[in-house]
């Protein structure tokens, strides 16, 4: 149980930092004085938020793979995803898929069509908003990922 809690806390921390650094991709934190709050100055530094976002993305991919593999392996224990679990899984999958494509786009020589880039940017933003609101709802109303 202790090990699962550690993974859960790592997941929470990663979600907080990936959301903050993702928001930091837009030039808003300086304008709205949020980067003036002690300890949040890094949010106004675009390359720092870019690195933090990539590191957190690697953690999210790792944690998601861990959770997905664990879920499949323990299927015999009749652990089922709840409706909110399916919804959150789908949103995370969408975020990872659009995120991977944006990461590829950032390599030299990978030139996607302009419409695809705009679609990826906006869908990544829309998915994270949906995910955060869904997570908040699940936290407030104690909705679990799985039910046995």
């Amino acid at each position: 149980m202790k090990r699962n809690k550690n993974v859960y806390y790592l997941y929470l921390l990663t979600i907080i930092f990936i959301s903050l650094s993702g928001g930091g991709q837009m030039p808003i934190f300086k304008r709205y004085y949020i980067a003036d709050i002690p300890g949040l100055g890094w949010l106004a530094r675009f390359y720092i938020t870019h690195y933090v976002h990539y590191i957190c993305a690697a953690l999210i991919i790792g944690i998601t793979s861990y959770a997905a593999a664990g879920y499949l392996l323990s299927a015999k224990n009749k652990l089922n995803l709840t409706v909110s679990g399916y919804l959150r899984s789908a949103l995370i999958a969408g975020l990872i898929a659009t995120g991977i494509l944006l990461v590829i786009r950032n390599f030299e020589g990978y030139i996607f069509s302009h419409n695809l880039i705009i679609f990826l940017d906006l869908s990544h933003l829309a998915l994270v908003m949906l995910f955060l609101f869904t997570s908040l709802y699940c936290f407030l109303f104690k909705k679990k990922w799985t039910a046995s």
Binding site: G70, I104, E108, H114
Partner: protein, 325 residues
Amino acid sequence: MPGNISRRSFLKGGIAACAAAASGIPVSASGADKDKQIATLLDIGKCIGCGACVEACSMVNAAKYPEPKKPFPKMYPDRAKPEDWSGKRDVNDRLTPYNWLFIQSADVTVNGEEKTITIPRRCMHCTNPPCVKLCPWGSAKQLENGISRIDPDLCLGGAKCKEVCPWEIPQRQTGTGLYLDILPAFAGNGVMYKCDRCYNRIAEGKLPACIEACPEKVQEIGPRDEIIKKAHALAKETNGYIYGENENGGTNTIYVSPVPFDVLNKAIETGKGKPHLKAVSDSMEKANNLVAAMAIAPIAGIAAAIGTFYKYSRKDNEGKTDEEK
């Protein structure tokens, strides 16, 4: 050498290609196409600073310049300040939204002789432009021929492109663009402008205005690999120095100068709208190197899950065996 592929670039390209193939999304170019982008070569030794290129740029691109609506919307909070160049359209000694090319000058000593070197300055058109790659809305674009340009119909004027550009090239004009139709008081601040290397003229088979107008033939344009070869040949012939080949990971604007660029950089006036000539490391490299962690992450996650699963399975089995005993 342009044709050589380093182990690191091979690995990076491999990871990206695998991910692209797995995603099923077609990409229009591969990492190897960098040398097929179109680049310009500027022989600074030939430039006489006449300003014909600056004039031609202004004339040809006049229709692209902003016509801001005034008064500007009040922005909140007060920290967001309007930037207005519409009353200073004639400023040509720096980059502005109405001047995408200017002549920088440096008083230096060449072979013991005092000389003024003049340098046409504009967007470098990086081969992997951070202004394009880090734009949060996709309003900055890179064309397949290597030109980077900002779409004035999509740009919100947040100026992130300027901040991530090693030379701080893009310049903002308030009171124009898409932000006026969304939340002008709370988000956006106009449109960013910079040299688009006359992308529309190139598409029509014409030369960029600055190249066509130059009486001294300072600039030439062609495939990047050919331009790099010419730059090296010219540098060898004139005992010159090259700038732009490796700066920021490589650009499509290659300068050849009779004076070392660190000397030129000390002699030119730098500051707002007046870019430096310092050596620049690849802005995108560090983040792109972190992609290795993303590639390893799923393997690590699955391995950890399998390890945990078998550990608990063994404990379960041991428990059952004990019960049977």
